[in-house]
């Protein structure tokens, strides 16, 4: 392990330790907040994988819903245990994504963006339309919480640990994918698709691969969310939530693995801080987005680098 890998490793351990003790110092309501924050970190990180090939979809929130509905229906109507339905949520979301690849990846860029939005709305409408099994606008409620020995997963602290462990594991897997040759090829498809093709990369396959894999992980995030709330509705995964995902990734930055994560953390905390000004929150979010695009076009992730440049600490140029 070289020095930069060691610093990264130490950083991750510190963050995990802080997260592990943090809920004990928080009020009930903030413990909930922390659970959703950790789930949202998985949402943005899986979205990052999808965007690696350069295609920004507008269906990620809906794919999260596909996993959520999948797990909710499996556990409620078929009595499947959470421990099985949660990973199966990933399989369900991944399979739906695979079916969508054929129509969606005939398009690129702007058309892909719009096409993915339309496909997502079609799925959301079918949740509303088919009361059986999706329960219409009121969705599915009474989703059972996980069972394991005598741990009470209705309480936020045990559920938080459950979420923390699963999300950490998923992030580790996502990170491995990105740093592997598969991840390198995804980058290559983004930067110069024709050149990648000329050396044998089937760009269609790789775009699909990123989309399916990202959907698997966001499907798991969806299951984690609704098994805590106990209810799944179409509203939870609408375009409004998708816009949040986009803002987190854009404000955080999409050059590095941790950019989107920082974006989700910082903006969620700001959002929470402004909870009192309820009707002003969208405006505050908008202002932050505009500010970030104007003054931090490379995202929050570029902040350390820029501060370093500004205050001229020499020889501190690290590999990201």
């Amino acid at each position: 392990m070289n020095r930069s890998a060691l610093t990264h490793f130490a950083g991750i351990v510190i963050v995990l330790v802080i997260l592990a003790v943090l809920p004990h110092f928080l009020r009930y309501h903030h413990q909930d907040f922390l659970i959703f924050l950790v789930i949202n970190i998985l949402v943005v990180s899986s979205y990052r994988l999808v965007t690696l090939t350069g295609e920004w979809s507008l269906i990620h929130a809906v794919m999260m819903g596909v996993g959520a509905y999948g797990s909710a229906i499996l556990s409620k109507q078929f009595n499947v245990s959470f421990w099985l339905s949660m990973p199966l949520a990933g399989v369900v979301a991944g399979s739906v994504a695979a079916l969508l690849c054929y129509p969606l990846f005939r398009m690129t860029q702007f058309y892909f963006l719009i096409g993915s939005f339309a496909a997502g709305e079609a799925i959301r409408l079918s949740w509303i339309h088919f009361i059986k099994p999706f329960g219409g606008t009121s969705g599915v409620s009474g989703i059972p919480s996980p069972e394991l020995g005598n741990i009470d997963f209705l309480e936020p602290i045990p559920y938080f640990y459950l979420v923390l462990i699963i999300v950490t594991l998923c992030l580790f897997l996502l990170y491995r994918v990105e740093k592997s040759r598969v991840g390198l090829t995804l980058h290559a498809v983004h930067w110069k698709a024709p050149l990648a093709e000329s050396v044998g990369v089937n760009t269609w396959n790789y775009r699909s691969l990123a989309f399916i894999t990202g959907s698997v992980f966001v499907g798991i995030a969806g299951a984690l969310k609704v098994h805590y709330i106990g209810t799944v509705t179409p509203k939870q995964f609408d375009i409004g939530f998708m816009v949040f995902i986009l803002i987190w990734v854009i404000v955080g930055g999409y050059r590095t693995f941790y950019g989107a994560i920082i974006g989700a953390i910082v903006l969620s905390i700001l959002d929470e801080a402004f909870r009192e000004f309820d009707e002003l929150r969208p405006a505050i979010y908008g202002a932050i987005l505009v500010f970030a695009i104007l003054f931090l076009p490379a995202g929050l992730e570029s902040l350390p680098q820029r501060l370093r440049e500004k205050f001229g600490r020499s020889g501190a140029k690290e590999a990201g």
């Binding site: 491995r176 592997s180 991840g183 050149l195 093709e197 050396v199």
Partner: protein, 252 residues
């Protein structure tokens, strides 16, 4: 037997006929020049052979097999790789990563082995061949530089390295000498010869006549999408059609 055989190839873009019933063949081990004035259809020919365009009619055979209309990635699997007229690199990736992408065909991995770390052996093989090709192309000491930051000569060398590391049997090089000074050209000519000596057949599109005459075993001349002449550099140089249509015309 010819390694590449183009038979009666026609390519139309709407009303424009970019290639009109062109046939030529390339023998194994040669450096074959494909020349002609701007707009003659040379790049279009490469894109048809490499699968980036589908021919309107005609047939392309590689090693006796019909490869007409296959996708670029499939054609690359067959052993044909093209370089691009405009220097085309993964600008945001390091030199090493650029070359590593080129190993795609030979050491495939899939996402499960990537996650589980089962592809270590392949990873090492890929890295070894990337390093070998970087040394071969004189890029070894630029390993961690971003492609975008390289000087022109090294960018061209990198483009060839990406193609070469995929171990092609036929390489289509589109104007590798464009914009180079005589010194860089000389260096590039050496590299091209070494690529051929390593067992790769080359088709070269180039305007630099000194390079073409110095490198090529045989030439095919296109003009306005039609075949104008074929033969050794000597024959082509003395062909009156070529002199009037091409050497005379555009060099006047």
């Amino acid at each position: 037997m010819a390694i590449l055989e183009v038979r009666n190839l026609t390519k139309q873009f709407g009303g424009l006929t970019a290639l009109n019933d062109v046939s030529f063949s390339v023998e194994p081990g040669e450096i074959h020049g494909l020349i002609g004035p701007n707009g003659a259809g040379k790049s279009t020919m490469f894109k048809n052979i490499a699968g980036f365009y589908a021919p309107t009619s005609g047939e392309i055979r590689f090693d006796g097999r019909d490869i007409t209309g296959l996708k670029p990635s499939r054609i690359s699997h067959e052993g044909i790789v093209r370089t691009f007229q405009e220097t085309t690199l993964f600008q945001e990736l390091s030199v090493f990563d650029n070359v590593l992408v080129g190993t795609h065909n030979r050491s495939r991995t899939d996402i499960f082995s990537a996650i589980l770390g089962l592809d270590r052996q392949k990873q090492r093989e890929a890295e070894d061949s990337a390093i070998e090709v970087m040394e071969f192309m004189g890029l070894a000491d630029r390993r961690d530089q971003l492609a975008a930051e390289l000087p022109l000569g090294s960018q061209r060398a990198l483009a060839i390295a990406i193609a070469l590391v995929s171990k092609p049997r036929l390489m289509l090089m589109d104007e590798p000498f464009a914009g180079m000074n005589p010194e860089e050209t000389g260096h590039m000519m050496d590299l091209t010869r070494r690529v051929r000596e390593s067992g790769v057949t080359i088709v070269l599109v180039e305007h630099d006549m000194k390079a073409v005459m110095g490198l090529c075993d045989r030439l095919t001349v296109l003009n306005f999408g039609t075949l104008l002449a074929r033969g050794s550099p000597e024959e082509v140089r003395n062909n009156p059609d070529v002199i009037s249509a091409y050497l005379g015309g555009s060099h006047a």
